[in-house]
Amino acid sequence: MEAGNLSKFLKNGAIWGFIVIELIFFSVAGEFMSLSDKAFMDVDNMLLLLKQSAPIGIIAMGMTIIMVNGNIDLSVGAIFALSAVILLDSLTWTVFAGLGDWVIPVSWALALLTGVGLGAINGFIVWKTGVDAFIVTLGSMLGFRGLVFMYNGETPTSSLNWTLVDFAEAQFLGLHTATWFLAIVTLVMWYLMTRTVHGRNAYAIGDNRDAAVNAGIKVGPHMLINFMIIGFLAALSAVVFYSESGSVNPNDGQLYELWVITAVVLGGTKLTGGAGSIVSTLGGVLAIQLLRKGLGHIGADTSTVNLVIGLILIAVLFLDRQLNTKGKEELKL
């Protein structure tokens, strides 16, 4: 194998290799350090892992297209929270009292619309003002969170609808509802990015925006659509998660952007844009969730998880740069 191919192989396969190493490590370490008798690679445990990957995973699929496009979205956590508030609150609105359980699809639609709307605000500002997406979404991370607090103060918004909970807790062919949503989103986004003109243009814009403009690609509308996609997915993630839990704190979703970006970067998507894949992002999502769960399994607490995730993110960045020549062109913010 040539050196070039080897590094390419290492790059593309690295995340899956990392997952295998994690599985082996936590299985072995769990034998000695875990308080529970269950093996780490227990079927139920793995199914739960997939389910728990869903909230971050669904958003990460949107972040992949955003980052491939050459942008970033730091406001996903706030969009997640606001959509959740709309979902749970609208379930109890008196206007919908006559609908019975038909209120569920209405509330879902409202929550998803909220996400799309907030994403459109971000995208529109980025497009029309030309302000960097980093600053725009940094601002809206603050602004959208403010809207969440203005909605209900610091009290949690709660409402339990048992039909909804049953749906969210259901298992179809062994997989939980949330897992199915993650799978469908992954599939759709994979199709969008690899098989459609929009996906191809996203790569082109991220790789070289001037060239894309010269090729007649409408950069602005593409960016707007991508921000709407990630808004939709952040809302979908909230909808799936809160259908089950039924209560949202105004601070929920904080630091989600960190987890999501970590997953996407772990999956090998370039910050400079133009490179990245949905399948690798899925790998990144699973790797992170394995790490969280595995560290919990061997008795480490949240503080260790935070520490390890942060350091791994930096290590991956370092390794990626060593393996990748394009990484030498630093992102200039």
Partner: protein, 324 residues
């Protein structure tokens, strides 16, 4: 004036837009509530902005050098917790330098990663935000940290004391601002910071050691964070592990409001101080006219975007972007 064409006026308005808007805000708030410009209120605003301001001074260096620092909030939590913990263990005289050394080590680590290893500063500091938060929790075991003898310690002087009728936090903020302002504007080091941020390649070719400059900027930033942590700890004499959470955004907002470009190469300490005060006065004004505390998040959002928009609109000479 002949030289002042119509476009020139537009550019002037856009350039000073944030100051003009600020003036309008001040007048509006003063009309709405007479207490807004009273000496007590002004002093209160500056005082409560001091911690944020001190951190913003350091981040200004980082931003001018063309990088970002999102880790200052969780680093501030770290230094606050550490100094409070050590206060009772080894006494304040040793606790303060020990905390400074630890915080500077964190800054040096980030500086090493971004400067010498040339890693992307956004991701590095995002990772460090999480890692330092974990470090703080590990250090404290998740417990709140409190000084046992709150009445009898002189440690409270940094946050609660006052000299010549001016609260100490304000004095520290202004002194540090003056000092760092001189460093940035008048020393070779300061000029190199601008050079590295303005055009890193050109700076390297003119013999400037880019890596070292970036490294020093992060050390500088962590020093400011340590000072902020000291003020915070001394003010409250007790703290949660999350005391600095989210501050990185306010800090960045203040620096951007001051007109420093995230592309690097522009910005001054003086402008950052203005940015800090604008943020402080607007948040205070919103509260004084009786709006909910959370409204300030939304207003800050609008202000940040407007400020940056006006800035780049002035540079490109058109209000709307040229993105197709």
């Amino acid at each position: 004036m002949e030289s002042m064409s119509k476009a020139g006026i537009g550019r002037f308005l856009a350039r000073q837009g944030i100051l003009i808007a600020f003036a309008v805000f001040i007048i509006g708030f003063t009309l709405a509530n007479g207490r807004f410009l009273s000496p007590e209120n002004v002093m209160g605003v500056v005082r409560s902005s001091a911690i944020l301001g001190v951190m913003a001074l350091g981040v200004t260096f980082v931003v001018i050098s063309g990088n970002l620092d999102l880790s200052v909030g969780s680093m501030m939590s770290f230094s606050t917790i550490v100094v409070l913990d050590l206060h009772d263990k080894i006494g304040p005289v040793l606790a303060i330098p020990a905390m400074f050394v630890m915080t500077l080590c964190l800054g040096a680590f980030i500086g090493f990663l971004v400067g010498y290893l040339k890693l992307n500063s956004l991701i590095v500091t995002l990772g460090m935000l999480s890692a330092i938060h974990g470090l703080t929790l590990t250090y404290s075991g998740g417990q709140n940290m409190d000084i046992a003898d709150k009445e009898g310690t002189w440690f409270s002087v940094f946050g609660q004391g006052s000299a010549l009728g001016i609260p100490v936090p304000i004095l520290i903020f202004l002194l540090l601002a003056a000092l760092l302002g001189i460093v940035l504007a008048k020393t070779p080091f300061g000029r190199k910071v601008y050079a590295v941020g303005g055009n890193g390649t050109a700076a390297t070719f003119s013999g400037i050691k880019r890596a070292r400059i970036v490294f020093l900027c992060y050390v500088m930033s962590s020093f400011c964070v340590a000072v902020a942590g000291l003020i915070q700890a001394s003010r409250s004499l007790g703290s949660q592990n999350t005391v600095g959470q989210g501050l990185e955004l306010d800090v960045l907002a203040a620096v951007i409001l001051g007109g420093a470009s995230l592309l690097g190469g522009s910005g001054t300490i003086f402008k950052t101080v203005i940015g800090v005060l604008i943020l402080g006065f607007i948040q205070n004004g919103l509260l004084l006219v009786g709006l909910q505390f959370y409204v300030q998040f939304v207003v800050t959002w609008a202000i940040i975007i407007l400020a940056v928009w006006l800035d780049i609109a002035a540079k490109r000479g058109k209000l709307l972007s040229t993105i197709a």
